[in-house]
């Protein structure tokens, strides 16, 4: 590559970088700054230092929303990782109509979240919903599904798992396709059983891909808004109010710009902390193999 190219290539990248900085990164500075103000849209802003943060530390509704977010995220990451890895093993095999069936399996992650959330809402309906009918067929008493405070989060996790297991499958499938064949031949010659081969050869080699999927899944689970907003709006009561829902309420129903900016800062710190944890875990896994 010639020297002048470097500068010209940077010019190629400039518009995209500027747009991202303007639309995503600039608001960051603004948010950090606004979090130091007491400002409701329509009234004057007062500088109050860290009072918004101090207020949040004793706001039980906010603290519970963090707990719910963590519970939701743990379930919505763990379950798709296990299911998606098995799905990848299945779709890695050769069978008729594989392309078509794999495409059908990925439909949930491509479909419009609002649309499928509406269908799930109807399926969850305690009286006319199809899910309670299916339960009755196998002799299980009807459930209140999302109308029960205790079940709201698990039901939303169910929708999320249904929607995003295909993404994990795709990432792990990409990993499976890239594995070398030598270790499998060696394992076979050594007389390893299928389970032993999977447990001691396939799985360790797949771990880096599973962890990549875990990072993507975690970031997306923390961001989940559409399905929760459409299906429960954070209810019943506040039973499924995650940080995103709490934030939406504070920002766009109560117009508390200062307070919600502080929530954003705390939220983002949480996202970064969890991402670093997973990156650290990934390094350790790579080290051991």
């Amino acid at each position: 590559m010639i020297e002048g190219d470097r500068r010209r290539l940077l010019c190629f990248a400039l518009p995209a970088v500027l747009v991202v900085l303007a639309v995503a990164v600039f608001p960051w500075g603004f948010t950090l700054w606004m979090s130091l103000f007491d400002w409701k849209i329509g009234s004057a802003a007062h500088f109050i230092g860290l009072d918004n943060y101090i207020g949040l530390a004793s706001d039980t509704r906010f603290l519970w929303s963090i707990v719910r977010t963590l519970v939701f995220t743990a379930l919505a990451v763990g379950a798709p990782l296990v299911l998606g890895t098995f799905a990848a093993l299945v779709f890695h095999e050769r069978f008729p109509l594989r392309g078509l069936l794999r495409g059908a399996f990925t439909l949930p992650m491509m479909a419009t979240p609002v649309a499928i959330a509406l269908i799930w809402t109807m399926m969850f309906h305690p009286q006319q919903g199809v899910l309670n009918y299916l339960l009755s067929l196998v002799g299980i008493p009807p459930s209140a599904w999302v109308y029960s405070p205790a079940l709201a989060i698990p039901c939303l996790v169910l929708v999320d798992v249904w929607q995003w297991t295909p993404l994990v499958m795709l990432v792990v499938l990409g990993g499976l396709a890239s594995l070398p064949t030598d270790p499998f031949e060696a394992a076979y010659l050594e007389g390893a059983s299928r389970w032993q081969t999977f447990r001691h050869v396939t799985l360790p080699m797949l771990m880096p891909f599973v962890l990549v999927a875990a990072v993507i899944r975690m970031i997306d689970a923390l961001k989940t808004f559409d399905t929760i907003y459409v299906i429960t709006q954070g209810g019943p009561g506040t039973a499924s109010e995650t940080i995103n829902l709490y934030l939406y309420l504070q920002a766009f129903s109560f117009y508390q710009v200062g307070k919600s900016s502080a929530v954003v800062v705390v939220f983002f710190a949480l996202v970064i902390a969890l991402s670093l944890l997973l990156f650290w875990l990934r390094k350790r896994v790579n080290y051991h193999d």
Partner: protein, 280 residues
């Protein structure tokens, strides 16, 4: 992986286990969409029946005509086309050269800056942007929605396209350089035509995730600037509609995406496995 030699009996057991596995994963994915179809084409009597009617006794298009009659659905459809179309086109215009530059410069840090937009929860940059657009008096137009959708489309395009450019052999561009081609000519006439499949996948993914987005429109759009997902949600909450029209509306919103996914599923699978990209 290797094919183990096996007896015929073992072979058929394996195929059976595999078939069950495929069924376990594909059936739940598909059945929700089948139920959507069923709800959308049933009349109100069938939709309220218990036990539920699975296959419509008298299939009807009444739900769809109701959607178009009672709502300004065509306007919202047009809004979605404009928002998704413009934000995808702009993303291609600025994202493809950027992806090329990142691939050739091996600028992983630059890529990371662009991917931060994908990691950040949408609501967090909506608060400052909402106040900004309000101060500028733009909240009644489609412009704020288009601008925010760039947060979805630009990172997808840059990420997918830069990954694709990286796989192209450098020899062709080097030959063009020897022939005296400028950087722009090498990009425009050598690299870009070769990267067309990658650009297509990027465009499709950007289109789908912009089309699907709900929250930007929900916050920034007014009555006449709603995109389809926002409009469908409002159908649910503000007018107590029956299930049939609601399912029909949901089907209309997501049908373009589902058709696109099935048509180019192979390419999409390739593009997604390359990076695991998702918008919103």
């Amino acid at each position: 992986m290797i094919d183990r030699p096996s007896t015929p009996a073992r072979h058929w057991v394996d195929r059976g286990v595999l078939a069950v596995g495929v069924l376990i994963f594909v059936a739940p994915a598909v059945s929700v969409f089948l139920w959507m179809l069923s709800l959308a084409f049933k009349n109100e009597v069938d939709n309220l029946a218990y036990p539920p009617v699975f296959i419509p006794t008298a299939p009807t298009l009444a739900n769809f005509t109701a959607v178009f009659r009672e709502n300004n659905f065509l306007l919202y459809f047009w809004n979605s086309i404009v928002v998704t179309g413009v934000s995808t086109l702009v993303a291609l215009l600025i994202g493809v050269p950027a992806g090329y530059a990142i691939a050739r410069l091996k600028a992983k840090k630059l890529l990371l800056v662009i991917l931060v937009a994908r990691m950040t929860p949408a609501i967090s940059f909506l608060i400052p942007l909402f106040t900004l657009f309000q101060a500028l008096g733009l909240t009644g137009s489609l412009l704020p929605v288009v601008i925010t959708h760039l947060v979805i489309t630009v990172p997808i395009v840059v990420y997918v396209v830069s990954g694709y450019f990286e796989t192209l052999p450098p020899e062709l561009e080097e030959a063009a350089l020897v022939d005296g081609c400028s950087l722009w000519q090498r990009f425009r006439f050598v690299a870009l035509p070769l990267a067309r499949p990658g650009v297509t996948v990027a465009a499709i993914l950007a289109f789908i995730f912009s089309w699907n987005n709900f929250i930007f429109g929900a916050v920034l759009a007014g009555r006449t600037t709603r995109t389809l997902p926002v409009a469908v949600y409002n159908v649910l909450t503000f007018e107590q509609v029956a299930w049939g029209p609601l399912a029909a509306a949901a089907l209309l919103v997501t049908l373009p995406v589902l058709v696109l996914t099935m048509l180019v599923q192979k390419e999409i699978v390739g593009g997604l496995t390359a990076g695991g990209v998702k918008g919103g």
